[in-house]
Structures are given as C-alpha cells and as structure tokens.
C-alpha cells in the first residue's frame, strides 16, 4: 500500500524560474532568501498504481456527438461484456435513449433493453418534428452528489477525475443511487453493492480506450484528457458547440455533448 506512494521531483516551472532569474540578475542586492528558495526542487508525494500509472497526472473526460449516434447499442453491449454487468435489461452502465419529439410538443423517450436489441420504429398519429439518439453514461461529475452522500467513503472521485466505487467497502445502502441526478448507478443484484461506469478504469490505466468508445462504429464517443491540448477530447470541445446534462445542478459533468437538444434531460 505505502509502496504505491512515490516521491517525485516537481520541476520548477520555466516561466516562474525565468521571472525570478531576472529578479536575481537585475537586483543582486535584493534579499538572498528569495533566490535561494527557488532553485530547490520541491518533493511531492504521488500515488502510483502497480503498472506505473499515476492518477494525479491525468484528468479524463468524454465527448458525445448526438448528431452521429445511430442507436445500434454496440456501446451498451460492449460495456456489459467488458465489465460483467448483468444481462437483465435493468442494469446498465451505459445505454442509448431515443428521443421522439412531435409537432404538438409531445416528447417520448424510450430505451428498450438499453438499445442492445436496436429500436423498432413506433408509428404515431402525431407528426414527428425531430428524432435522435442520445447515449447516456455516468457524467463523472467534478462535484459529484453521489460521493457527498456516501456514509462510508466507498465511492469517491479519484485523482484523475473518475468517480469510482470501492466494492469491498460499499455497504449497499443505495444513497448514491438516489442522489445521482442522471440515473447512472444501480445496485448489483448479486454483490449488493453500488455499480457504475468507471470509464473502464482497468483499460484507461493501460492506455486503452473504454470499451464503449472502442466499439462505437460512428465515432460518436470521444475519450481523452481534459487538460492536455493535443488530446482528441480537447479538439472535440474546440470544434463543437458543447452542452452538458442538467447544468443547473452545478454537478460540473465531465461528459460533454455536441448537438445537444434542449429537450434532453
């Protein structure tokens, strides 16, 4: 356990180093302490996983382009395969919803078996205004309500921004399931612990994409780092008009939607 804590030499930032160097060069008479402190390397403690992955160095997020989703449900299927989610149609870590918006203002949302078996066309007397698919997943909020309510500290926001569940520590009280405004959590029927999307944590620590992103046939889902400029996600955020689900709740989601319709909740 304690072996996972490593000391890392944190380099002094170039800009601040140059600034202070200038101060030292221009004013050699200024107090010596100022300069002597800067050149020292600061020792910082970091948590490290067995394969060398350092959670503190990352910040993960996901982008979803609603305009590209074809509702094939391969993401929901792959998620169940990858994470051993029960096959019954009540348990999903990710799923796809279909929004039918009619001319008279009616909105119908359905998600038969999380879209794994596809969508049947539903005839309606009302004239359709627009219709589209919305993939849903845990939003990995930066300010997660589910973490706030956990009485034992079994769910938490990891240093890389991923909201995880400690299944050994969870007592199955279901507070977090109630607290999640996105309905992204469920109770595992056999383990009786809370379950949720982990961004396929075992995959991202190995530098692989989450299963749903890997199999998406139309590149609807984009996964990447939020604070590295070269990441595909940052490019996605730059190139699209972005919205998040339920912004009024101040949960600060890290799943960003492009082409988000105002009816999507």
């Amino acid at each position: 356990m304690e072996n996972n804590l490593i000391q890392i030499d944190k380099k002094v930032e170039r800009r601040s180093f140059l600034k202070k160097l200038a101060v030292v060069a221009l004013a050699p008479l200024t107090v010596r302490i100022l300069a002597s402190d800067d050149v020292k390397l600061k020792k910082v403690k970091k948590w490290i996983l067995d394969n060398g992955y350092i959670p503190g160095d990352h910040k993960w997020g996901m982008g979803i382009d609603i305009g590209k989703c074809i509702g094939c449900g391969r993401c929901a299927d792959a998620c169940k395969n990858e994470n051993g989610v029960p096959r019954e149609p009540f348990f999903f870590r990710t799923w796809v919803e279909r929004y039918n918006i009619y001319e008279n203002g009616d909105i119908k949302v359905d998600s038969p078996n999380g879209a794994i078996d596809g969508f049947e066309y539903i005839p309606s007397k009302n004239k359709m205004l627009r219709s589209f698919f919305v993939p849903k997943i845990c939003n990995h909020c930066d300010n997660p309500p589910c973490v706030q309510v956990c009485p034992v500290g079994a769910t938490f926001k990891s240093e890389d921004g991923v909201v995880l569940v400690d299944t050994d520590y969870c007592i199955g009280c279901r507070y977090c399931i109630q607290a999640c405004p996105y309905g992204a959590r469920f109770l595992h029927p056999e383990k009786l612990t809370a379950e949720k999307c982990t961004f396929c944590y075992h995959r991202i620590v190995q530098d692989k994409l989450p299963a749903c992103v890997e199999v998406c046939p139309t590149q609807t889902r984009i996964f990447g780092e939020l604070n590295k400029k070269a990441s595909p996600l940052v490019r996605f955020l730059r190139m699209n008009k972005i919205g998040v689900l339920k912004p009024s709740l101040n949960t600060e989601p890290k799943v960003f939607y492009a082409n988000l319709d105002m009816e999507v909740k």
């Binding site: 948590w47 996983l49 994470n83 938490f156 075992h202 890997e214 199999v215």
Partner: protein
C-alpha cells in the same frame, strides 16, 4: 487547581472517567477497523483505485488485431469501415490475443447481424447507409454481395433491367439474385439495337440446370441437388420451376 477537582461533585468525576474510557475505546476500535490506507489520498481507501484497475480485459483493442492480421487491417483501412473497430463485429477477443489457437473470435455471417447498424430507422442521422432488410435481397446473407472489410456495394448491371424491369425485380428477390442474366441467356450485342431480330437464347435442356443442381456436380453445398435421371424425367425444369424465382411454388 486541587480545589477545583475536590470540589467537583462525585457523579461528574465518575462520568468523566467513563467519558475518557469511551474516547479511548473509540480511538482503539477505529484504529483497528479503519483500513490503513483510508484517507491517504482522499476520503477513501487508496487501494480501491488499484482494485478498480485490476478488472480483467475483455476487448483487446484494434491495435492488438493489427499486429497479426495486418493484411485484413490494411484492406479495412481503404473502405467505408476504416473507422470500425474489429471487435464491433468479431466480439470481445482479448482471450484470442492471449491464446490465438484456443479462442476463436465470432464471425457473424447471417443476415441478422449487419442490420443492427444498417436497418432503416427514421431516428438515424441522414447520410448513414440504411436498408429495409425485408425487401433488400431477402434470405441472402449480406456477405455474399458486400465484403465486410471493404463494404462497397456491388455494381449491378442496368443493361437488362432497363427493359426487363419486372423480371429483374423478381430475380433480385430470389435465390438466383446473384446469377447474371447472361449466364442463362446468350445475348448478342445486336439485341440492344434491334431486340426482336436478335432474340437472346434460352436454355432448353435439363442438363443446363443440372450444371449446378445435379447430384454429382461440385457446387456450393446450400444449392439444392436432385438426381437428373429419377427427378421427373419427362419434364423440362422450367415447366415446374420458374427460373427467375425458383422458390415460388
């Protein structure tokens, strides 16, 4: 100070001793019950991060496939499916990477699979290629016409269809959809200029159909076979079977 303790009522003294015992017991019990790594990096067990990372991999990722199957990979990169990961169709295959001989990934070859994405649905974004599977060459497996690794649709000759549209439509829905018109009808180029003076040929002998359907010829195993000598020898084939829709009764 001495006065303060001696002036304390007896019950307060006793209660305070009890309180101290309770506090000590709380500290001792929590030090045993709370895991050592709890609170090391946050209000959670630090090793739970490792637990989450220890789940077994099921999907290997397409880079792993490309390492061995680079020929298929290069072919796929040229077609419309270039952005499609291998494991969308072939299923989770991390086991195949570990033991290539023991675990074979799935190969979906029937008609139910491709329509998962390509079946028409008005909610799908415009521009995505879609078909209505009940009328799009029914009963034929998709892979007879479309190569899944490079699924450009086959070019159907429009030459015959321009005039013989009804026959072409009927044939396109039949088991004979893939057979070119000219395989059975010998047609000279002049037929296009003056059709009635240059009629195309028609097969007249039982042996012609027997090229595929006779018992003793080598043809695909799903083609129905008969014994030419005993199967209604007094009739020619088309008297009972309509060649453009052979499944019709």
């Amino acid at each position: 100070m001495k006065n303060f303790f001696s002036n304390l009522p007896e019950q307060v003294k006793r209660l305070s001793i009890l309180l101290v015992i309770i506090i000590i017991a709380f500290i001792v019990i929590t030090s045993f019950l709370v895991p050592k790594d709890f609170g090391l990096i946050g209000h959670y067990r630090a090793s739970a991060v490792q637990n989450n990372a220890n789940v077994k991999l099921q999907y290997a990722g397409q880079e792993a496939c490309a390492d061995c199957h680079d020929d298929v990979w290069k072919n796929k990169l040229q077609g419309f499916h270039k952005n499609l990961a291998c494991e969308v169709c072939h299923g989770p295959s991390a086991q195949h990477v570990d033991a290539p001989d023991q675990f074979k990934p799935q190969k979906p070859r029937d008609r139910n699979f491709c329509p998962i994405c390509h079946e028409y649905n008005p909610s799908k974004p415009t521009g995505f290629p879609q078909i209505i599977s009940t009328s799009h060459n029914p009963r034929k497996a998709c892979i007879t016409c479309h190569k899944p690794h490079n699924p450009t649709p086959p070019q159907t000759p429009k030459e015959c269809e321009a005039c013989h549209g009804e026959i072409a439509k009927t044939k396109s829905l039949s088991f004979h959809a893939e057979i070119a018109c000219t395989k059975c009808h010998e047609t000279s180029e002049k037929h296009k200029l003056s059709p009635r003076d240059n009629l195309p040929g028609k097969p007249t002998k039982r042996e012609f159909c027997g090229q595929c359907h006779a018992q003793d010829v080598k043809s695909a195993p799903d083609i129905p076979k008969i014994n030419l000598a005993t199967h209604e020898p007094r009739y020619v084939c088309w008297q009972c079977h309509y060649p453009h829709l052979p499944e019709a009764q």
